[in-house]
């Protein structure tokens, strides 16, 4: 006989879990009681949102399933933002919550919430466990759906009495899905899509490739690079696709979208054949959807049929794991006679499409980030929170490491980066982890400094402090007549002193000092020391409060209508 809580942990171990993030509470106590000796290391965060973001960071950095644990009621509701984030960004995540005793369910008992109902639309799959006996099957199924197809979050809600009850347990089970549910409806035939695509390429004058996170998630980065090398067409990446294409590739034009490069956005606006590799084409990438790639036929390599035709109908859907479909195309393409696109590539990457001269109020901050990133080892990981600093970091990121840039892209959840960095550092302990936040977002999960300190994680934390909710302020400046309503953070606390209170070494670098030629050698030494330290470190960079992110495609505009700093 084995108690339900022990069975949960046994099944987690059987799924390969050796690390979980969580926060205990009344309804989950039996699980915590059974932790010791289970073979699972538990990391106590200081808030359930910290736990779920840390689990996400771990999953994003390692490709494994992240596990977050919380109690019922407020514990469960605090997970919800992280679950939504994982859904948007295709992160495999299993969340386990305690629930009130089963006889009390539906009575508005103490700390009872319908977390099953709440997470229906945020998860790929969820379950309220109804008997201790079904725990092994539920956990096996949860991991199956979290990992399969387009990865995503699942949630298991377990009433506390079912964790306490003892039943016969003969071991974990393997879940085999029943016959596949639905077809995609419009699946390009594997045997013919390559031929069709080659024909499209032979007719095309201005083909381009848009690379998203799917290329990385499917492990198709090398195959993709090989294919792009062969095609030799302009290529660019979404924010989640950064690192999937070698930055020094002659055809690479950088990031595309709202704050993408001029070259990438112009090429996307002019193309007559758009190859999409694992991107869902959200509005931050497309600009005004009705004016997106107006002259293009679209070929969409995608694992999830749900992502097809969301913005524009595609001419050729290629449904399947990119690790299979890209090599299948490459084999055919090698044998085909493809046009020479070098003239088009030269136009797309020509000097007249280069970024404007570096100037403006954001220049010092971008220069600071570039200097930091240049010091990062090739396999290092940069995390960015959400806001202006996120876009500056994405614009400055130059590494070619598939998991080298991690951010909350789809949901845009402020407060993501610091707890996610905890998960990244634990998942990749020998990696340099650089966490870039804004002064607003950092305060949303600032309590995780305690987790960083407790675990002695050598995370390098940077706060880009402009004493504003910068991105909102930028929009207020540009589109709301400078009415800076409720975005002023000029009464921020002293971050250096706060970090020291958490026993974390911290220092301040002001923009004026960074720009002072006489201080440059000293600044360089400080940055070197900061990144080389084997302890957690915080560096606060005070920048101009009215620095903006440019280029920018205003909301409702097409990609060709980018705005640059005057």
């Amino acid at each position: 006989m084995r108690r339900g809580a022990q069975i949960v942990l046994d099944c987690l171990r059987a799924e390969g879990v050796d690390l979980a993030f969580g926060y205990p509470g009344g309804a989950i106590m039996p699980l915590y009681d059974a932790l010791e000796g289970s073979g699972i290391r538990h990391v106590l965060t200081r808030h359930e949102q910290g736990a779920v973001f840390a689990a996400e960071g771990y999953a994003r950095a390692t490709g494994k399933v992240g596990v977050a644990i919380a109690t019922s009621g407020p514990g469960a509701t605090n997970l919800v933002t992280g679950i939504a984030d994982a859904k948007m960004d295709s992160v495999p995540l299993v969340c386990i919550t305690g629930q009130v005793r089963s006889p009390l369910i539906g009575t508005d008992a103490f700390q009872e919430t319908d977390v099953f109902g709440m997470t229906l639309s945020l998860t790929k799959w969820n379950r309220l466990v109804r008997s201790t006996e079904e725990i092994p099957r539920v956990i096996a199924e949860a991991f199956h759906w979290a990992r399969s197809g387009r990865p995503g979050p699942v949630m298991i809600d377990i009433p506390v009495d079912m964790m306490k009850a003892s039943v016969e347990f003969t071991g974990s089970v393997h879940f085999t899905p029943r016959a596949p549910a639905c077809g995609s409806g419009r699946v390009g035939s594997e045997s013919t899509f390559a031929t069709t695509l080659i024909a499209l390429l032979q007719q095309a004058k201005k083909p381009v490739a848009l690379v998203g996170a799917g290329a990385k998630l499917s492990g198709a980065v090398e195959d993709l690079q090989q294919t792009l090398d062969l095609l030799n067409i302009p290529a660019f990446a979404t924010v989640h696709g950064l690192g999937a294409v070698r930055q020094d590739s002659p055809y690479y034009l950088g990031m595309v979208g709202m704050h993408g490069t001029r070259a990438a956005n112009m090429a996307l606006d002019e193309t007559d054949l758009l190859l999409v590799f694992g991107a869902r084409l959200d509005d931050r990438v497309t600009g005004e959807p009705t004016r997106f790639a107006p002259h293009a036929k679209i070929v969409h390599f995608e694992i999830d049929p749900m992502q097809l035709d969301r913005v524009r109908a595609c001419e050729l859907p290629v449904i399947g794991n990119l690790a299979k479909t890209i090599p299948a195309f490459f084999q055919e393409a090698q044998r085909a006679h493809l046009p020479d696109f070098s003239a088009w590539r030269a136009v797309a990457s020509g000097a007249e499409r280069a970024e404007p001269r570096k100037a403006g109020l954001a220049h010092p901050t971008k220069s600071f980030l570039e200097q930091l990133f240049a010091r990062m080892p090739e396999n290092g990981t940069v995390l960015a929170d959400v806001g202006q600093h996120q876009m500056w970091a994405a614009q400055c990121f130059r590494a070619s490491s598939p998991r080298g840039f991690i951010t909350s892209g789809g949901l845009g959840a402020m407060g993501f980066a610091l707890p996610a960095a905890v998960g990244v550092q634990l998942g990749r302990p020998n990696t340099t982890v650089l966490c870039v936040s804004g002064d607003g977002g950092f305060q949303m999960n600032i309590q995780e400094l305690a987790t960083v300190h407790r675990l002695e994680l050598p995370i390098k934390m940077v706060i880009i402090d402009n004493k504003f909710l910068g991105m909102v302020r930028q929009w207020q400046e540009l589109f709301f007549a400078r009415n800076y309503a409720e975005t002023d953070l000029s009464d921020n606390p002293d971050f250096v002193e706060i970090a020291k209170a958490y026993k974390i070494s911290a220092s301040l670098l002001k923009e004026e000092e960074f720009l002072d030629p006489a201080a440059s050698a000293n600044v360089a030494r400080r940055l070197d020391r900061f990144l080389r330290s084997n302890q957690p470190e915080l560096l606060v960079f005070e920048c101009h409060p009215e620095a903006n992110v440019y280029p920018m495609v205003p909301s409702g505009a097409s990609l060709s209508e980018m705005v640059f700093e005057e």
Partner: protein, 105 residues
């Protein structure tokens, strides 16, 4: 008006996922009928959605783990009669004043 017949395995939450795909888009459902058919269940939905929403809905339904298939159907008279499409929504019979009286009673 569009009609869809969706067959699904009657596991926890599957019907709710089917319905919430509609409600999250702010689309009214004047008619819903769920029934067991052999080993699986079928739900019939009547709604007014534009072509883009129909495409999105079909893809979202097909992505639900235990949905077996999604088929558009032709409206039949009985269904139209059940739908009470001529009634305003929310019903006129429940006015704000009446709600307020109930709330303070």
């Amino acid at each position: 008006m569009h009609i869809f017949h969706i067959r699904y395995r009657n596991t926890q939450g599957t019907l709710m996922r089917i319905l919430s795909a509609v409600s999250r888009r702010g689309i009214d459902l004047p008619y819903v009928q769920a029934e067991p058919t052999e080993h699986i269940h079928k739900v019939t939905l009547l709604m007014d959605a534009n072509a883009k929403q129909v495409g999105q809905l079909c893809r979202e339904w097909r992505g639900v783990v235990d949905v077996v298939d999604v088929r558009p159907g032709a409206p039949i008279k009985e269904l139209w009669d059940h739908a009470h499409l001529d009634l305003p929504h929310p019903p006129d019979s429940v006015g704000a004043a009446e709600n307020a009286r109930s709330a303070t009673a």
